[in-house]
């Protein structure tokens, strides 16, 4: 099919799932154009697997947000108190 006939047949084609999973972040970040967004949402409305995929990405983000960070050790706290006092002495 030539590019020209491709344009002639342009209509709101469904996105392939393989492409949907690649634009999921752009969707969540609000970086899709209005047209892309419509196609994305239209696809979700008819594809349970991609709907599931989006839910999993959202859940991944939520769970990542609960990853705990490194503990502040007592040694480090002491070092930093010393650092503060040295800095005060500098001035």
């Amino acid at each position: 099919m030539s590019l020209f006939s491709g344009l002639l047949h342009r209509r709101p084609r469904d996105l392939p799932c393989q492409q949907v999973v690649e634009i999921v972040t752009d969707y969540l970040e609000g970086a899709l154009s209005a047209g892309e967004r419509r196609r994305f949402e239209h696809h979700l409305a008819v594809c349970e697997h991609c709907t599931e995929y989006l839910a999993q990405i959202r859940e991944t983000i939520r769970l990542t947000g609960r990853v705990t960070t490194e503990d502040l050790t007592p040694e480090m706290r002491t070092d930093l108190t010393d650092l503060y006092r040295r800095w005060r002495a500098e001035g």
Binding site: Y53, V67, L72, R77, L80
Partner: protein
Amino acid sequence: MEADTSLLRRLRGGDEQAFADLVARYNSSMLRLALSFVSSRAVAEEVVQDTWLAMLRGLDRFEERSSLRTWLFTILVNRARTTGVREARSVPVADAGPAVDASRFSPSGAWAVPPDHWVEEAENRVDAAKLSELLRGAMSLLPDRQREVVLLRDVEGLTSSEVCHVLAISEANQRVLLHRGRSKLRQALESELGGGQR
């Protein structure tokens, strides 16, 4: 919780407790971020200490156009990069791997091996500590840049523009790195929690 701006005011007034409060608030995040740039805990701690000292020395110049946290993270990233441990081998663009392995799609691009269900199960079956550990492990396997972006966005909760500022990358680059990183974390969760394969 006392606002950063208020702690900053007390710190400028010479209040040592304000410094201790800031350390309690941000040191852990800073250490984690530093660890994504340098490989040893000792070096990471050094980078964090350098950052605190740079913050104290720069107090008078800080105009509060960004949040204190963003400022601290920006100093830290600059310090961590000048240690040079990882900078030499970290590439500013993302690896080009797909979000989901191509073998899971049919030639038309539709799902051939659809995602396993695990969202509801995640919390019912697995305790929070184990999920956290799983994600920490998966994050440690991400390429450096992806890990840094995921850490700042999804663990620390910075906005995309704050992340771009801290890491000195474009919005588009940030999105690509975030996309790759999140996709891999999702895959890790699916592999571990997905139905029927345990």
